[in-house]
């Protein structure tokens, strides 16, 4: 039995409606409890801001394309090199750091739970292998279905049950968490070098459209009772004028779940572009945010762009090739048979570049224009918009108009005519930041029930204590202090154990992999369906029996079982 008492914590815990109460938090065996005995280890929070451990509901930290981002980028590795010290492994990398570097840096910023945004089912084993080398966070993986042949055929045949059966079988097999759709249909078209422009184009050879895929997957997600909703990277990412496609998609999302959203739309910054080409390019954050404000069934994440060097990586293969043709640096692509694809290119977002400046403004506009912070998560789509180490600056930008104005003065001079950012006075408060960086993310992922994103009795004792006293700082004026505080916790506590102190790594931890296992009941086992088996036999390059990820790849495993209702 291990016991810990965090004393004098200034707690903000939005899920339990605690907004700035100085209190003690008792922990026994990794969970939050009523009280502990006199022998408990004591940490004095000294009145500092204390939040549930951070949750990142969309990041790219592990798996085939992340690792390929490292593989192709020795120049990125030279940044961020740190020596081995104590329990800490040597680290390398800035925008695509090593597994250890990702884990340490997230931990130092108070993050304890991460969702890898894109896992190709065929290569799932790789993601799980990297998870086991990510010591300080609990991990989940959204599973890519954007170009899944079985799914597309079932949709074309109008067999909605079959869609759910294939999704359920695949999630169980690959130990995935939720459904990810990246440019649905577009990546399949990229198999022959093509793309789709929006949701009503037909996927070549499959006779379905993106909107049919999106809607069928939403229904399948609810049939399977998955904790998280469909996680969508809309079609037509990154192109001028694409906000129309985004709105067209949002307007066709039904409201199907009382507990959470029906759709999680990711990195919406990249999907809120106006204009008809790069010359007329402008922000359309307003109509997009307006639509979100009127649709409680949708949650978005920002996908904030921050200036500097990074690496973009996405399952949206055709988009990456287009971007490569603009940037001409280097380009990797990796199509995955019957399922999905991906692309990677390095980019440098410049203040002097008008398009980049507008992109920077759009992310902030979305966060400020979406009224309900539970509907807008703070992310950079790490590392696409920026590496996650930029989160503290983004928090400060959202909390301080003064900081935004100071930054705005440094961007491309024409930006003002293309965005609404300077007109937005809203300054988010501490509670809203807590929602956007943990409580809202945990709720959107459907993991509050397993004790994530809050500090209520029975919750996982994942706690972040930041070296800042809320009453003594005015974030609107002293934004530098906000950045410093969110960059380095006083303590990060994972499952009741302090894992970092003042930026120093204290333990070599062991994460838990959270995955979903939908039980489908008799008559719905697609694994024995002749057509499904035949598809494996003929078209995959691995045998069906060798496809599922064995239990031994998950060192600590938390299986969330659901009962499908057909």
């Amino acid at each position: 039995m291990s016991e810990l008492l965090v004393k004098n914590a200034y707690v903000i815990d939005p899920i339990n409606r605690i907004d700035g109460e100085v209190m003690d938090i008792a922990v026994r065996d990794g969970r939050i409890v009523e009280d502990v005995g006199p022998k408990a280890t004591v940490i004095d929070a000294e009145g500092c801001l204390t939040l549930p451990g951070g949750v990142d509901s969309h990041t790219h930290v592990c798996g085939t394309k992340v690792n390929f981002g490292r593989y192709m980028s020795p120049e990125d590795m030279r940044a961020g090199r740190e020596a081995r010290r104590g329990v800490k492994h040597a680290t390398s990398g800035y925008s695509v750091p090593t597994t250890y570097a990702n884990s340490y840096r997230y931990a130092v910023m108070g993050y304890t739970t991460l969702l890898e945004g894109a896992m190709a089912p065929l290569e799932a084993r790789h993601t799980h292998e990297e998870f086991s080398a990510t010591p300080l966070q609990d991990m989940m993986a959204n599973t890519l279905f954007d170009g899944n042949w079985g799914v597309m055929n079932a949709i074309r045949d109008g067999d909605q049950d079959r869609v759910a059966e294939i999704v359920g079988w695949t999630l169980s097999a690959v130990k995935g968490f939720g459904i990810k759709l990246t440019n649905p249909g577009g990546t399949e078209a990229w198999g022959f070098g093509k793309n789709l422009t929006c949701i009503n184009d037909e996927v070549p050879n499959f006779g379905v459209t993106p909107i049919e895929i999106i809607q069928a997957m939403i229904r399948a997600c609810e049939t399977l009772r998955l904790p998280h909703s469909v996680h969508l990277h809309c079609n037509n990412l990154g192109n001028p004028g694409n906000y129309a496609c985004t709105l067209g998609t949002f307007n066709q999302i039904p409201d199907l779940n009382e507990k959470r959203q029906t759709l999680y739309a990711t990195h919406v910054q990249f999907h809120s572009y106006g204009g008809s080409d790069w010359k007329t390019f402008c922000s359309k954050a307003e109509p997009v945010a307006y639509t979100v404000n009127n649709r409680p069934q949708i949650v978005i994440d920002m996908g904030q762009v921050m200036f500097g060097k990074t690496t973009t990586m996405t399952a949206d293969g055709p988009m990456e090739f287009n971007l490569y043709r603009l940037h001409h640096d280097k380009w990797s692509n990796h199509d995955v048979e019957l399922e999905t694809g991906s692309g990677i290119i390095p980019v440098f977002y410049r203040r002097k570049n008008l398009v980049n400046s507008i992109m920077w403004a759009i992310g902030l506009e979305l966060a400020l224009l979406v009224k309900n912070p539970w509907q807008c998560m703070l992310t950079t789509d790490n590392p696409n918009g920026a590496p996650f180490v930029k989160y503290p600056e983004i928090i400060a930008l959202l909390m301080s108009k003064k900081y935004r104005d100071a930054e705005f003065a440094t961007v491309h001079p024409d930006t003002g005519s293309k965005v609404v950012l300077p007109a937005l006075d809203r300054e988010l408060d501490w509670n809203e930041i807590a929602v956007m960086t943990r409580a809202g993310q945990a709720k959107a992922l459907g993991i509050t029930g397993i004790g994530k994103g809050h500090l209520g009795l029975g919750a996982e004792a994942d706690i972040a204590i930041y070296p800042i006293r809320v009453g003594e700082v005015d974030p609107a004026q002293e934004y530098g202090k906000v950045i410093d505080a969110f960059s380095r916790t006083k303590y990060t506590i994972k499952r009741g154990r302090p894992v970092t102190r003042d930026g120093e790594i204290l333990v070599h931890g062991e994460n838990t992999t959270i995955w979903v296992d939908p039980k489908m009941g008799p008559g719905h086992d697609i694994g024995h369906d002749a057509e499904f088996v035949k598809m494996f036999d003929r078209y995959y390059s691995v045998r069906m029996s060798n496809y599922p990820v064995q239990d031994e790849y998950l060192k600590r495993s938390l299986r969330m079982e659901t009962e499908a209702v057909f």
Binding site: E130, N205, D335
Partner: protein
């Protein structure tokens, strides 16, 4: 007993449809594998060392695992600059332990990549890599190019599982519907079935790529009548085939990476593929030799940031092929102890390097006596992944596959042996 869907632990094709029949601890039949794979699987229990051996004057003596592991840990701990080399024919789990051990020792870890596809990686680091999984090729490709490689002999099932003879979703009769181009300096077996065989003079790869790129770009006017022994006419024909394919798949081997020009050849190949993607779909895949050499690149990369040749002597991960690669470290007589795992440098390294290996305490972890054995002071036999040990391996296209076992011969696995050496190292060098 019949074991189905086993994975062949020989080449980078990592065929996973092998059927092995065993009677007790003897393999009596292997189905689906090629001759290379069959040979490895059939002789699963033959030629193995019975237990560890240690140098005893001019000869050898038997040793216990405890003693050999103690010895290995001792020489590594004693060393100023230990080299941990090999890793291409072992499981990912062992590779990961190797990295952690190199890190703690302040040593250098390198894989056989540095003598096969190292140049491909250097090229990828400059210009990227438009690739795909092999099933994508099987289902879609109507044009295949093999350049500087001879899969018929080195990857015997590559063509039947993934390319020329493999039926796919978009090609019902692949052999008829697919075209094959082979580029090599001599007419290989693979070349004999090609629709176009392009014979280039040795060292001419770079020039031929440049000429093809020029033609694809519409600048055929700058190309002379022959380039490295290839006529302009043939180059133009090939460029047209490439542009008009629906999906082209380019494979290349050490015939390209180790030819004069090295990584520049590969860079030029990648840039040709980039160029072709402006017209149609093209991908490129290095034909990796050992079944898990790609796995060593993957594991090293997520742990250290670099795919091979990682030097921890400054406590950080440092990478500079040509300086931190095994051959260079040995040639400079820099390392003072060497652990070789699952590879046979004795058969491949320059003599100068081997001489240095014999002059320092070298420990070999390998199931059987090999050409490297005589260079070592101690050899520790282990189970073979895919036969009597299981573990992870990465196919040449990056697909990770769980390699399974069908025998139990009582040997410890590489992971176990390296884990025990690492434990001993940690007792002394505790962080």
């Amino acid at each position: 007993m019949i074991h189905t869907d086993m994975v062949c632990p020989f080449c980078g094709c990592l065929c996973d449809d092998i059927v092995v029949e065993t009677e007790g601890n003897a393999v009596v039949r292997v189905d689906n594998a090629c001759t290379l794979g069959t040979h490895k699987l059939m002789n699963a229990s033959m030629d193995r060392l019975k237990g560890p051996i240690m140098r005893d004057g001019a000869g050898w003596r038997d040793a216990t695992y405890d003693e050999a592991i103690e010895y290995a840990a001792g020489v590594l701990l004693d060393a100023d600059r230990p080299l941990l080399y090999g890793w291409s024919s072992t499981q990912g789990e062992a590779q990961g332990l190797g990295v952690s051990m190199a890190e703690l020792l302040g040593g250098v870890i390198d894989s056989t990549t540095s003598v096969c596809h190292g140049p491909s990686i250097l090229a990828i680091q400059e210009v990227g890599h438009p690739g795909c999984t092999l099933g994508q090729v099987k289902n879609r490709a109507d044009l295949i190019v093999y350049w500087g490689c001879n899969p018929t002999e080195a990857h015997p099932r590559h063509m039947s599982r993934y390319t020329t003879y493999a039926d796919g979703f978009f090609l019902q009769n692949s052999f008829r519907e697919r075209k094959l181009i082979v580029v090599d300096i001599r007419k290989t077996e693979t070349a004999s079935i090609a629709d176009e065989f392009v014979q280039i003079t040795p060292g001419g790869d770079y020039a031929v790529f440049s000429a093809l790129r020029a033609i694809v770009r519409g600048r055929g006017d700058v190309v002379p009548p022959t380039v490295a022994g290839v006529t302009k006419e043939q180059l133009e024909r090939i460029a047209e085939m490439c542009k008009s394919a629906k999906f082209g798949a380019f494979f290349f081997g050490v015939g390209l990476t180790m030819a004069p020009g090295r990584y520049k050849n590969v860079r030029n190949a990648i840039e040709l593929v980039d160029e072709l993607n402006r017209y149609t779909k093209w991908t490129l895949t290095p034909l990796r030799g050992h079944y898990n050499v790609y796995g060593s690149n993957e594991v090293f990369t997520w742990m250290t940031g670099y795919p091979y040749a990682v030097d921890f002597s400054r406590q950080i991960a440092f990478y500079n092929p040509g300086e931190t690669t095994a051959v260079d470290i040995l040639a400079r007589k820099e390392c003072d102890a060497c652990l070789i795992v699952a590879s046979d440098p004795g058969a491949h390294f320059p003599r100068k390097c081997l001489e240095h290996l014999t002059s320092i305490p070298t420990v070999l972890i390998d199931p059987a006596r090999t050409v490297t054995t005589p260079l070592c002071r101690c050899q520790i036999p282990t189970a073979v992944t895919g036969i009597d040990a299981s573990g992870t391996a990465y196919r040449m296209d990056g697909v990770p596959i769980h390699v399974k076992t069908f025998l139990d011969l009582g040997y410890p696995t590489d992971t176990e042996v390296i884990g025990r050496i690492f434990e001993k190292v940690q007792e002394v060098r505790h962080p």
